[in-house]
Point group: C2
Chain length 187, copies 2
Amino acid sequence: MARKKQYNEEEVIKKAMSLFWRNGYEATTVRMLEKEMGINQFSIYASFKNKQGVFLESVKYYKKQLNSIKDKLKNSNNGVVGIKEYFYNFITFSTEGQIRKGCLVTNTVNEVKEEEEPEVMVELKKFANEIRDLFVSNLKQDDKKSNSLVQQQADYLMNAILGLSIASKMFTKEQLDNIIEVTFTNL
Amino acid sequence: MARKKQYNEEEVIKKAMSLFWRNGYEATTVRMLEKEMGINQFSIYASFKNKQGVFLESVKYYKKQLNSIKDKLKNSNNGVVGIKEYFYNFITFSTEGQIRKGCLVTNTVNEVKEEEEPEVMVELKKFANEIRDLFVSNLKQDDKKSNSLVQQQADYLMNAILGLSIASKMFTKEQLDNIIEVTFTNL
DNA sequence: TTTAAATCTAAGCGTTTGCTTAGTTATCTT
DNA sequence: AAGATAACTAAGCAAACGCTTAGATTTAAA
């Protein structure tokens, strides 16, 4: 056998995710990834094939983080995720110490072109659908709501959370809290 | 004196705006602008100084278009802009024939970094504030609303319209219409 | 008709991009 | 201890980026 990797792949992806998140996909260069991840280009390409590979792993890690938040909310609420609580956690997670970076996925949906990075777009759309499904299954708890009303409100909530991703870059925490409150008085 | 310009500056900016809108700021190269605008690099730099200059003019043109829609709504409604109607026109304008391109300004806010393009960000923030002011002045028509409620609802509407910019890239026209309906049941 | 000035074309500048390759170093098996 | 193999370093590749420059062409005033 031979030499061992001097780095842990999940640890360097965590750093890469942070950089992509702050910086956007295209604007993040492989040279910047080198510095942030603490390994050089050869190692990056050896572990993740190419820049897109690093990004796809970053999205996986992002998903994992957001899902562990979801699971915590679920466990503290009889197996049901409270959507309002999810919203609050979403914007807290989206800002995570440093403000004005929005949601990694929303940022990238807005930036990347389907024709140029189809593999990336597939992952991002999956992600969006998972969140929408979460809204749907929560709204269905209320038997009084018709199926079409559930779909309509799920879209409304998706719109609100997409908005929050951008709004989190320009508004104060208080304003964001108010927005969430008003958003839910409708349901 | 000397030779005359073979092109009309507003006409070529119109074309440039369309390209930036579809494509994003960074992803639009000067070579692409050459083809779209139908003039070559020398002329672009002579008329607009640099790529940023072309973009700033494009935003001006975009603003002008959106404001003329606003003025029409104003004139057909006793000098007051109905916000709901503004929303409908906003998403129609945002899709404008070809779907999935969102709002030029929202797209760019999401993409451009304040440190790298401060002049661009100044313009974009001005634009966002103008729209928010429109919401505020409309909401103030209702004397029963307190000042703080007006501010809160204005933020809520900003969030919804930011969301719509992204949502217009992923949702159907029907879904977008539904989202707008639910958004306004609160106000 | 001449002349001066602005507009055009097209080539090319230096820099940065994602990615590769040649050559060295470390570590596991035998 | 020796040899094999994978991980490392660092240099460099072609292509694309924003922008500039040299030189030809057009136009309007003198």
